[in-house]
Symmetry: C2
Subunit: 244 residues, 2 copies
């Protein structure tokens, strides 16, 4: 039995998220089906983490086990030929069978893009949240700075998840502006359900002046989801990279 | 009666081209339907030119006539609210009723993008042609230079069009490389059916070494479509700008 680590990219627009759901188009379901055809055996993959419906990935990681003889150097091309246009393999490598894509992830990097101007765009809107109110990225960065570090992020956790602890360590939360696009980069060892999107929704309220920087510290300390901002829509979010 | 010139952008992926076709999703059909709801009257639009199925536009121009009272400054927002996410208005302006979007176009600029690397991309492939063979952009530019100017472009005209003359003036044909993306920019006063895509298909054969620069001059002089390269796929092409 060989275990193979596969890095994939996908445009999440037309997927019902990463995780398999019967009867719906998911990245996992589509990948298992394609890999099954390539390898000639039934395939189950394990992802480093889920992404929700509409969320994109530049570097999602997943593993599969195979007893098949296919040479590793042929696998990228064979899988890409079998996969649809909106999900593609970037790289493959053999890993020890003890490797666990989820547990062994050291750092995850997410990017959230906001198109900050009056006019919508048929191109950018597919990969960004369109926010018309002018955003002050310096205020947003000041609020972001209060979230960096190890904290109980219960206020930034979507309901419906069951985790042992809502404590996470955010190692980076950068707010960058490039013209009309504001990008928020979040890096940490792990993220709660909807955490990045609730952080972004809250930072946007800071950027538009509806919340102060100080209020964000109070929201964090309060551990109450209802105090934080709305959940930002999925299409702005991309899972950029997982570091092992 | 007022005539209004409207500049629109669209992601052509999910449209059967610009021109109205009954029962199919087209930019013209969708735009007329949305504008009709905004203006409260039946609307017919005239485009500066067609784009084929899958071709994108950053600056398509069209006109409509209305007797309605809507202030011009409200029209961008009202139309964008009525339009789907993949087609959006950039600007509107009132023009004389004698204005004709097609006839009065002075210069049209098209861009064609090629992703030139081994790996496909779920993001870029939507807006580019994926060509795996390494392309020599200097050879492509040399071949492009032989096409610039006023020529009979019959060899680069798709079948099924009926035009009085296949003579057109190409004022610019630039081959630019930015890392793994090769972009071909074509500017002229008018283009034949599929002309840009057949030029691109031919230049790619030059870039990969299957045609010489000299052979491109012979193809042009021969006025025979069968001598030119294959028609490049639609998703790499965008109508960038129309100058009046």
């Amino acid at each position: 039995m060989r275990k193979i680590l596969i890095v994939v990219q996908y445009d999440g627009t037309n997927f019902h998220g990463f995780q398999f759901q019967p009867g719906l188009r998911t990245v996992q379901g589509e990948f298992e089906e394609a890999a099954g055809r390539v390898l000639g055996e039934s395939v189950r993959v394990a992802g480093a983490g889920r992404t929700d419906a509409g969320v994109h990935a530049f570097g999602q990681a997943l593993t599969l086990e195979t007893s098949g003889p296919i040479p590793i150097e042929n696998l990228v091309k064979a899988l890409n030929n079998a996969l649809a246009a909106d999900v593609k393999v970037v790289s493959v490598q053999e890993v020890p069978t003890s490797f666990n894509a989820r547990r062994d992830a050291k750092v995850k990097l997410y990017s959230y893009r906001i198109l900050n101007r009056q006019l919508p765009s048929p191109f950018i809107n597919r990969y960004a949240w369109h926010v018309r109110q002018p955003l002050d990225e310096d205020r947003m960065q000041a609020a972001a700075d209060t979230l960096v570090g190890e904290h109980d992020f219960a206020a930034f956790c979507g309901s419906g998840s069951s985790v042992k602890t809502t404590v996470r360590k955010l190692t980076r939360l950068d707010v960058l502006r490039d013209g009309e696009v504001v990008e928020i980069r979040a890096e940490g060892n792990g993220f709660l359900y909807l955490m990045v999107r609730i952080i972004v929704g809250t930072l946007v309220q800071v950027g538009s002046g509806r919340l102060s920087v100080e209020e964000v510290s109070w929201i964090l300390a309060g551990c109450d989801r209802r105090q934080a901002g709305r959940t930002a829509p999925p299409q702005g979010l991309s899972l950029v990279r997982i570091t092992y």
